[in-house]
């Protein structure tokens, strides 16, 4: 018996040895004398000069607010998995990047992975409140609580039709030939052009209208509960309208799908569109004529630069502000952060301090870039060792301009943001936990049908009824019922809030 106990102890012993090792490591950080160490996970690719820039930033931050940064850049493709592992395991960290498209902001907030920021923002985030577009602070709320500081960039979404300028000119068209109106009418007005492209260039492998597997169309007068127009659940954009409908049952949606199917039958859409991942291959090989993209100020310049030839565009509808557009990129604080106050102070600085923001964005003056004007810079060769994704590092509007940028670049962004119309349910983020299994079934059905329908591969008049039937069996009514209930509650609390602020 004694021997057995010894044996068991021998097995357990290594665990304690390892454990004590790791504990001594974690104890090293954040003693009261040393500056507080902010562990910050962000998305991107590893940069050779990160340590150098970080050291420089730490020098500045130590003096200013008594903190130090410990930045870890996790690769794009694995960020989502890694962050969910890190937060599930309760590992200690301070800040992380989150968005609607990776490390899902709403889900993580609901799970309780992030620290609620309302109070902290009032206390230490006055600068953020001043510089950020107000919709950024009112939009990404979960149960009325803000869980991340959004990056100040374009607040609204506007889809644009993009044209290969060379083809447009060769075939004798110009943008003014198209009805630059809302939604389906502008798509219809493009049809004559698509027809000519098809007749003249089809033999050269040019596809008139490039759309792809995950492409989902947005109707200008609807906003989508789940941020994706394929997933049923929409609200018509009208003031004080809070009724959830299934967009697939609406006539406008059907009209659009029919038009797509017509295009497909005529050969304007590639035969394998429902299988293609994106339009990148066509754009890069100059075999595209028209496709769609998300517009922002000076987008044409950016697109042209990516493709290597001229691309021009016109918007498909007026910019709208939705939950998805305001949660495009945020920095959130971990629920396990030891000093939320210092973290918030740092975030405030990151969004307001020109020196710090540009240091983290472009690197060190004289090494990675040099100044050519008061707020304009030029890259130096060492820039290649430090390239950061701009939207992961807070407020864009205080970053320096690059050689190709217009002087009023950020002014244009402000104007664009001001032109955006907020949806009436901005700030309502549904909680799908009560209907998890039904939602999963709905998503499976959606996956099965959506690509085919949106790319016009199948006849909508036949397939949409099948889709609706499948959705019903999957339990869509239950999901939408729950959403409607949550929305009604949300509307009630919003009204109370408004009344309170008015009385004040």
């Amino acid at each position: 018996m004694r021997k057995k106990i010894i044996l068991i102890l021998l097995f357990i012993l290594p665990v304690f040895i390892f454990n004590s090792c790791s504990e001594s490591v974690s104890k090293k950080m954040g003693t009261s004398k040393n500056p507080y160490n902010i562990i910050w996970y962000t998305i991107g690719t590893h940069q050779k000069d990160l340590q150098m820039v970080q050291a420089k930033a730490n020098e500045y931050l130590r003096k200013k607010i008594g903190v130090e940064l410990d930045i870890t850049i996790i690769d794009w493709g694995v960020y989502n998995e890694k962050m969910s592992m890190i937060s599930i395991s309760g590992q200690e960290y301070d800040l992380c990047f989150t968005a609607a498209w990776t490390n899902n902001y709403v889900n993580q907030s609901m799970r309780g992975a992030f620290y609620p920021l309302n109070k902290l923002l009032d206390e230490y985030g006055q600068g953020i409140k001043k510089v950020l577009n107000p919709y950024f602070l009112s939009g990404p709320r979960v149960d009325g609580e803000l869980y991340g500081i959004p990056c100040n960039k374009e607040v609204a979404l506007q889809i644009a039709y993009r044209f290969n300028a060379k083809f447009l000119k060769e075939l004798g068209f110009s943008l003014s030939d198209f009805k630059q109106k809302e939604g389906i009418n502008s798509l219809r007005s493009i049809e004559p052009y698509l027809k000519v492209v098809y007749e003249k260039m089809h033999d050269h492998g040019v596809i008139p209208y490039s759309i792809w597997k995950d492409y989902s169309y947005l109707l200008p007068n609807q906003t989508y509960i789940f941020g994706n127009s394929g997933v049923p659940g929409a609200v018509v954009l009208e003031k004080d309208n809070y009724k959830i409908i299934n967009q697939w049952e609406t006539k406008e949606f059907m009209d659009y799908l029919k038009l797509c199917h017509e295009f497909y039958k005529k050969g304007y859409i590639a035969k394998d569109a429902a299988l293609v991942q994106n339009s990148n291959a066509e754009v890069m090989s100059e075999k595209f004529a028209v496709d769609t993209g998300q517009y922002q100020p000076s987008a044409d310049v950016v697109w042209s630069e990516t493709a290597g030839y001229k691309i021009i565009s016109f918007p498909a509808f007026k910019p709208i502000i939705t939950n998805t557009t305001v949660s495009g990129a945020l920095v959130a604080m971990s629920i396990n952060a030891r000093r939320p106050d210092l973290n918030m102070k740092f975030l405030n600085l990151l969004n307001t301090d020109v020196y710090l923001r540009n240091l983290l964005q472009y690197g060190i003056d004289g090494i990675h870039y040099e100044k050519t004007g008061p707020n304009r810079i030029k890259y130096l060769p060492a820039h290649n060792n430090y390239i950061m994704a701009d939207f992961t590092l807070g407020n864009l509007f205080i970053t320096y301009l690059l050689p190709g940028d217009p002087d009023d670049k950020w002014e244009q962004f402000r104007k664009f943001n001001a032109s955006g119309k907020p949806s009436q349910i901005l700030g309502f983020n549904p909680n799908i936990i009560p209907v998890t299994s039904a939602m999963a079934a709905v998503m499976n059905v959606k996956k099965q049908y959506c690509s085919d329908l949106f790319t016009g591969t199948v006849d909508p008049e036949v397939v949409v009824p099948q889709y609706l039937e499948a959705l019903k069996t999957a339990g869509l009514d239950k999901v939408l019922g729950e959403m409607q209930k949550q929305l009604d509650e949300w509307v009630k609390t919003e009204k109370i809030k408004k009344a309170v602020t008015k009385n004040k």
Binding site: C21, K48, D75, V78, S285, A389, D390
Partner: protein, 306 residues
């Protein structure tokens, strides 16, 4: 008897016709195996544009060394990752061998009292495992494997299957009389192990070490879980990251904001990814011929009973 002797010198000989058919079948299988590797090499040599225009082709329309030039430019990371992988493979294989052989030898001896218990401990995780979330929690929280070499080495260090193979081999090929003789000659347990048992078990140890080394070399899952620092990224994870990064950026380029151009410009291209694959596979490919005889003999190890 006599008739058979006349027609065939050796009972294992086969007729010319079946020899030919078998050769053809084996040749086809060999080609199926080799084709993807050669194709991979050819893609790494083709120009980016020709891939965009015509897709992957065995004989690209335009050849280009751009991919290798790119790799040369960002080579420091690749070289660094190579060092990590080689270090982990060597240390991990040695550690794994030491643990496995000692463990297996102990449970192969009939006079070891707790052999049943320990056989059970080795066998049990082969059939039931805790699942990966549980193991991640234990490894990262309790044992502190995050961003340390332990995270790269420990998860693969003990394989119950290898222990059982070794145990069977020790049990069946090393007669108890030999060990007894050694004991009479005055050898202690350790001396018996490393001077008698290990030299006699060379084939099985070589096989196990090869399998372990390949497992360490190809492992990208454990580093994906436990490694966050570029300075500790092994080659296979680097490859995986490069591949998924590019896919991710292209798919999300519309929702990423203004400097996605800048990001894309510095991403490796399709051809570069294949170049990395070539560079990552060649070393392990080169070691195969030297170990091949052990791989073959390894198949029968543990299957023979006297």
């Amino acid at each position: 008897m006599t008739v058979r002797k006349k027609s065939k010198g050796n009972p294992c000989d086969i007729s010319r016709a079946s020899n030919l058919t078998l050769s053809i079948i084996v040749a086809i299988i060999a080609i199926i195996c080799i084709y993807p590797i050669v194709l991979m090499f050819m893609i790494s040599l083709s120009s980016e544009k020709s891939i965009l225009l015509y897709g992957y082709k065995f004989f690209p329309s335009h050849y280009s060394l751009e991919a290798y030039r790119y790799m040369f430019k960002v080579g420091y990371q690749l070289l660094h990752s190579y060092m990590i992988t080689i270090f982990v493979t060597v240390v991990g294989t040695i550690l794994s061998l030491v643990i496995s052989t000692l463990y297996a030898y102990a449970i192969s001896r009939d006079d070891f009292k707790y052999r049943k218990l320990f056989t059970f401990i080795a066998l049990f995780p082969l059939m039931f495992s805790g699942g990966f979330v549980a193991s991640y929690l234990v490894n990262s929280q309790l044992l502190g494997f995050t961003n340390s070499f332990l995270g790269l080495i420990m998860p693969l260090a003990v394989n119950g299957f290898f222990i059982l193979i070794l145990r069977t081999y020790f049990k069946t090929t090393i007669p108890a009389a030999l060990i007894e003789a050694a004991r009479i000659d005055g050898a202690g347990e350790f001396r018996i192990f490393y001077q008698i048992v290990v030299p006699l078990s060379k084939p099985v140890i070589a096989t196990i070490s090869l399998l372990t080394a390949v497992a360490y070399w190809n492992d990208w899952w454990d580093p994906l879980l436990y490694i966050n620092k570029a300075s500790m990224t092994p080659v296979q994870l680097l490859l995986q990251n490069t591949q998924t990064n590019m896919q991710f950026i292209i798919n999300n380029s519309s929702s990423l904001s203004s400097n996605s151009v800048e990001l894309l410009k510095h991403m490796p291209t399709q051809t570069a990814i294949f170049a990395i694959v070539v560079l990552a596979t060649i070393p392990i490919l080169c070691t195969y011929p030297f170990f091949q005889k052990y791989v073959v003999s390894g198949m029968t190890v543990g299957g023979v009973k006297d």
